[in-house]
Assembly symmetry: none
Homo-oligomer: 222 residues x 4
Amino acid sequence: MKPDEKPLDRRQRRTRKLLRDALLQLIVEKGFDTLSVQDITDRADVSRATFYLHFRDKEDLLFNSMRELYDDLVDKVGLFSDPHEVVAQIMDGNHDACLQASDFEHVAEYANFYRVLLSEKGVASFTVQVRRYLAQIFREQIVEPALAAGNGPRLPPDLIAHALAGAHIGVISWWLESGAEFTPEQMARMTYSLSAFGMWWSLGIETQIPDAIPGTQAIGAS
Amino acid sequence: MKPDEKPLDRRQRRTRKLLRDALLQLIVEKGFDTLSVQDITDRADVSRATFYLHFRDKEDLLFNSMRELYDDLVDKVGLFSDPHEVVAQIMDGNHDACLQASDFEHVAEYANFYRVLLSEKGVASFTVQVRRYLAQIFREQIVEPALAAGNGPRLPPDLIAHALAGAHIGVISWWLESGAEFTPEQMARMTYSLSAFGMWWSLGIETQIPDAIPGTQAIGAS
Amino acid sequence: MKPDEKPLDRRQRRTRKLLRDALLQLIVEKGFDTLSVQDITDRADVSRATFYLHFRDKEDLLFNSMRELYDDLVDKVGLFSDPHEVVAQIMDGNHDACLQASDFEHVAEYANFYRVLLSEKGVASFTVQVRRYLAQIFREQIVEPALAAGNGPRLPPDLIAHALAGAHIGVISWWLESGAEFTPEQMARMTYSLSAFGMWWSLGIETQIPDAIPGTQAIGAS
Amino acid sequence: MKPDEKPLDRRQRRTRKLLRDALLQLIVEKGFDTLSVQDITDRADVSRATFYLHFRDKEDLLFNSMRELYDDLVDKVGLFSDPHEVVAQIMDGNHDACLQASDFEHVAEYANFYRVLLSEKGVASFTVQVRRYLAQIFREQIVEPALAAGNGPRLPPDLIAHALAGAHIGVISWWLESGAEFTPEQMARMTYSLSAFGMWWSLGIETQIPDAIPGTQAIGAS
DNA sequence: TCCTAAGCGAGACGGTACGTCTTGTCTTCCA
DNA sequence: TGGAAGACAAGACGTACCGTCTCGCTTAGGA
């Protein structure tokens, strides 16, 4: 975003890391907006004045820290080296590639963090930004390659991307709130199965929906 | 929540209404969390002390006000008089009932309100509660009737309900943010088309997806 | 100064008094400008926020408190009911009236306070204001009555008033710093004797300087 | 104060001069205590850290700079080569020597500086130190020689010295504040005339007060 | 002439105080 | 008697300085 930022020296990097770590810990412990800057600096063992040398306010620190999550998420989710190839496979009925690149692994890794930030005690802008980010990924990695390959969309591409992103957020929230009883892989398979039909159909792609979802027989009440 | 509340006299009802109206206006004008109690009471022409006689804090007022929205939403969305009958129709390929009961009308009516509360400057708990509420509606009105009629679910019913709810939120957010170019009816048809395949399939219902979505040919940029 | 000030209720008067008392105590204990607002409110057992409800900053509190001293000083010093009569007496060689109205009594009463505020750790504007106030008193009570009675001034009246005021400040400072070995009355007599010659001469008044200063034989090194 | 100080570099001397000059400029422009160290170093084009290599704080710099003024004042005021001779002349009715050695010249030269430092926005310790310094000069140059020559003092010598010093400060402040309408020489003559009677009388010296003050006929408003 | 100790610029950092802003409680006064 | 008005305690906010420190770069003055 700001490529002209000064390079940070060792002390500065250390300070920022301390603050970020403190934030993550404290968000999990007591939520974000009951947190004061003093709480964070106390935990980080840093002067409050120093905090303001680095960040405008605690939102700034949060977004800065979220960037780390994003970078990790990009590695996990945005990795179709050749999205067009993936779409071609889909058209042949091979859905494997789609199932391998899963954001659920990433969410599982930062489960505590997402559980709080997506919850009622969370941060509105976090949810919105994650949804927006996922929609963008879906658009670049799936929607646009599919448009190039298929018979033309049946619905507005952005609507499809935001619906998929919203469904993801909904599923992830439910998963984290209800105790994460499924593995990330199971979640990925189930969510994909649920979305694939409508997604490929609305994008004008003819394919076969995978019939069974291996490892998801444990279906019951909840 | 508290059915044993004292009945309110005329003045008290008036005061509460003033406060609620002021809140809704101000949320639209400058978002929720930059709002102070003083702002609200100034607008409502009420003493700050009086505010605290009625509500614990501004969140309390918000939730109280949200109740009104909910009541309206229930009228719009939760109105399948006989959900089992609707599911039976679906199995015969008749999707009309599903398209008639639409929350998009409701959202359009309170567009300003939802636009702010679902946005980055919104309120985390609002989004979560709406999603939770929608998931509950979907579960009661669709998932459970379908389970009684079909061959058994292919996925956890709650996952389906939360995915549908999430997709709705995603679609609504996109709609409101991008200028609400489609009518509520178009939105309902498109969203239903996108979800129907995966939904009925995963619930173990055999049906035909409606091929064309009347009035949604305007597909393009955005 | 502000006759349109709101009347204060009991609580407000109490709070102000607590703050003023705390200020006076603390000025004596550790000087004025090393004092923080927090120090004052801690001592007064008052919230820091409350301080700012009453005073803009600690200077404001100081000047407000100084007003009390002034009022007391006016009672002591500005009391020639008929200054012209006094000047007439002076011309007859009767200096008694001048010796009775003495600010040294007042200074002795608030010795601790003046000692600090006039010292190096004091407040510049305090010294200046006291000097200005004394000059005004001298001008009104002595210079102008004398001008009406005498042969016309030999020097600018304001110069005379400020010289007298400055001499007073100098004498008071020396008195307080050197341990207040003389009584207020002795101080008044000595200071008057020293100034009277030049004062009446420069105002164009012919009189006799009192030869001996009763009770001031204790003259030595220091 | 510290005769064992290291000899300073060319660079060091340059830095100190830059800082002193910046201080003097800035005091005139915006007063002393609203000044921050940063302001001074910005003006002096010097790093803030460097400031602390030379001075403990801005008071230290001020006192250091005041030393220069003192040195100049000493040249102007403390120059009775033989004070006893001067007193002898006074006893013969020749007041010329007293009028030649005048601090008003010095004050006029640094008028801007004194105007600020003696004003309400000034520095308490500056006023006090000047008064103390003047009292010491008066004591050494006038009081003690006179005691050796006269019939013994009628008042405590220190009281006399401090009264004279205070009167000087008062007169100087008035002069600077009211626009310096008189020349330094006029000021010196007027102030001396006003003080001389009381001074010599209280020191036990018999002399004649000079009747007219040449060049001070312009007496009126102010 | 080179070398080395020092001055110096730059700026992070821990602190302290500032004056402002909210919040929720409590008191006073008025209708 | 109850609501309006607003004083009050509490405490977070973001800003401004302070004095200390560490880090390199430059420069003066003795070798």
